[in-house]
C-alpha cells in the first residue's frame, strides 16, 4: 500500500515536472489536481495551508512539493516527491548547459539569450505583483510591500533587513 502511494508520487510529480515550463509554481493547478482531486490525499484547505507555509519558508518555492509529499508519506514522501519533481528537468537543464558551452560565442545563441532577458525580468516583476496582491491585505502590509520594493531597488543593503522588519511589524501590528 505504502509502496503504491510512493510510486504514485513518483509518477505524478515526474509527469508534472516535464510540463512545468515557466517554473514550478506555474503547475500549481496540476499539483492540486494530483493530490486533491485524483488521489484525495488532502482537502482543499489543507492544500492551501501547505502552500502558504512553503511560501513563508526559505528556499525555492517548488519545495511546496516536498510539503505535499510530507503530508502524504512523511519524510520519505518529502524526499520522493522533491526528487521526482526536480530530477527529470535537472537532467534536461544539465544537457542544455553542456550544449550551450559547446555553442558559446555563436551569434544566433547570443541573440536568443539576449532576447529572453526582458521576458525573464518581466516575469520576476509579475511574480512579485502576484505575491503582493495576496500578501497586501490591508494598509500595513501594503505599505510594507511598497517600502520593501523601494528599499531593495534603491539601496544595496541585504533584503534580509526588510524581511526581518516585515516580520516584526506584522507581529507588532497584528496584521
Amino acid at each position: 500500500m505504502r509502496d503504491e502511494i510512493l510510486w504514485q508520487l513518483v509518477l505524478g510529480f515526474a509527469a508534472i515536472s516535464l510540463v512545468s515550463v515557466g517554473g514550478g509554481i506555474a503547475v500549481l493547478p496540476e499539483m492540486h489536481r494530483l493530490v486533491v482531486e485524483t488521489h484525495q490525499w488532502m482537502t482543499d484547505a489543507e492544500f492551501a495551508r501547505r502552500y502558504a507555509l512553503a511560501q513563508a519558508a526559505p528556499g525555492p518555492n517548488v519545495l511546496v512539493v516536498g510539503l505535499l509529499g510530507w503530508h502524504v508519506a512523511g519524510w520519505v514522501g518529502m524526499l520522493v516527491a522533491t526528487i521526482s519533481m526536480t530530477l527529470p528537468t535537472s537532467l534536461l537543464a544539465f544537457g542544455f548547459a553542456k550544449f550551450r558551452k559547446r555553442m558559446a560565442g555563436k551569434a544566433w545563441l547570443k541573440v536568443i539569450e539576449r532576447g529572453l532577458v526582458p521576458v525573464a525580468v518581466g516575469l520576476i516583476a509579475a511574480s512579485g505583483l502576484i505575491l503582493a496582491r495576496g500578501a497586501a491585505t490591508g494598509w500595513v502590509t501594503g505599505a510594507l510591500a511598497i517600502a520593501s520594493t523601494i528599499f531593495v531597488w534603491r539601496t544595496n543593503y541585504s533584503p534580509l533587513w526588510v524581511l526581518v522588519t516585515g516580520a516584526l511589524v506584522g507581529l507588532a501590528m497584528g496584521v
Partner: protein, 196 residues
C-alpha cells in the same frame, strides 16, 4: 565588455554560496541568487545572470534550479551542477521538515499568522524591487523594454499562463535583441567605413 573576468570559484565556495542562497531565499530564490552571484560574489555580470535565468525559464522545471545547474556546470561541470543544486535544496528541505512539524502543532496561533503575513508582504516588495533594479542596470533598448513590460502585464495583470507568455514573447524578444544588435553593428560599420 565590463570588468575583467573574475576568478573561478572553488567547489567549496560554490557549495557554501548556494547553501546560503537556499537558506536565506525567502520569497523566491531568484532575487537572492541574483544579489549573491552578481552583487556580492561578482561571479556573473548582471547580463550573464539575466541570460542564464532567461534560459532557465524557457526550459521546463523550476527556473531557479535550472539556473543553478547552468551556473554550476559553467564553473565545475557535472560536479558543479550537483553541488549547486544539492546545496540550494538541502538546507531548505531540512528547515521545511522542521517547519512542517512545528506548523502542525502551532499553526493556529494568531502570532504565527501575523509574523508570516508581515514577512510575505516584505518578500513581495523585495521581488518587485529586484526586477526594478535589474531593468535599471541592464539598460535595455526601447524594443526590449516593450517586451519586458508586456511580459509583466500579461503574466502579472492578466494571469496568462506562463508557457503561452514564453511562446508569444520569446520570439518578439529575440527579434528585438537581433534588431538592437544590427543597429549596433551598423553604427560600428559606419564609423569604420564612412563612405558606406
Amino acid at each position: 565588455m565590463e570588468s575583467p573576468p573574475p576568478p573561478r570559484p572553488s567547489k567549496t565556495a560554490l557549495f557554501l554560496t548556494y547553501g546560503k542562497i537556499g537558506l536565506v531565499g525567502f520569497g523566491g530564490i531568484n532575487a537572492w541568487a541574483r544579489r549573491t552571484l552578481v552583487e556580492e560574489r561578482r561571479w556573473l555580470t548582471e547580463q550573464e545572470y539575466a541570460e542564464t535565468l532567461g534560459l532557465g525559464q524557457v526550459l521546463p522545471g523550476p527556473n531557479a534550479l535550472n539556473a543553478a545547474i547552468m551556473v554550476g556546470e559553467r564553473f565545475h561541470g557535472m560536479a558543479g551542477s550537483l553541488i549547486a543544486a544539492g546545496a540550494m535544496f538541502g538546507g531548505p528541505l531540512v528547515v521545511l521538515a522542521g517547519l512542517a512539524t512545528l506548523y502542525d502543532h502551532y499553526g493556529s496561533l494568531p502570532a504565527v499568522d501575523s509574523l508570516l503575513g508581515g514577512t510575505a508582504a516584505a518578500a513581495a516588495g523585495m521581488v518587485v524591487g529586484t526586477a526594478a533594479k535589474m531593468a535599471q542596470r541592464l539598460k535595455p533598448t526601447l524594443g526590449l523594454w516593450a517586451v519586458g513590460l508586456t511580459s509583466l502585464t500579461l503574466s502579472g495583470f492578466f494571469r496568462v499562463p506562463l508557457p503561452l507568455v514564453l511562446l508569444l514573447l520569446g520570439p518578439l524578444g529575440i527579434l528585438a535583441a537581433w534588431w538592437a544588435g544590427r543597429a549596433r553593428e551598423q553604427i560600428a560599420a559606419g564609423r569604420e567605413r564612412p563612405e558606406a
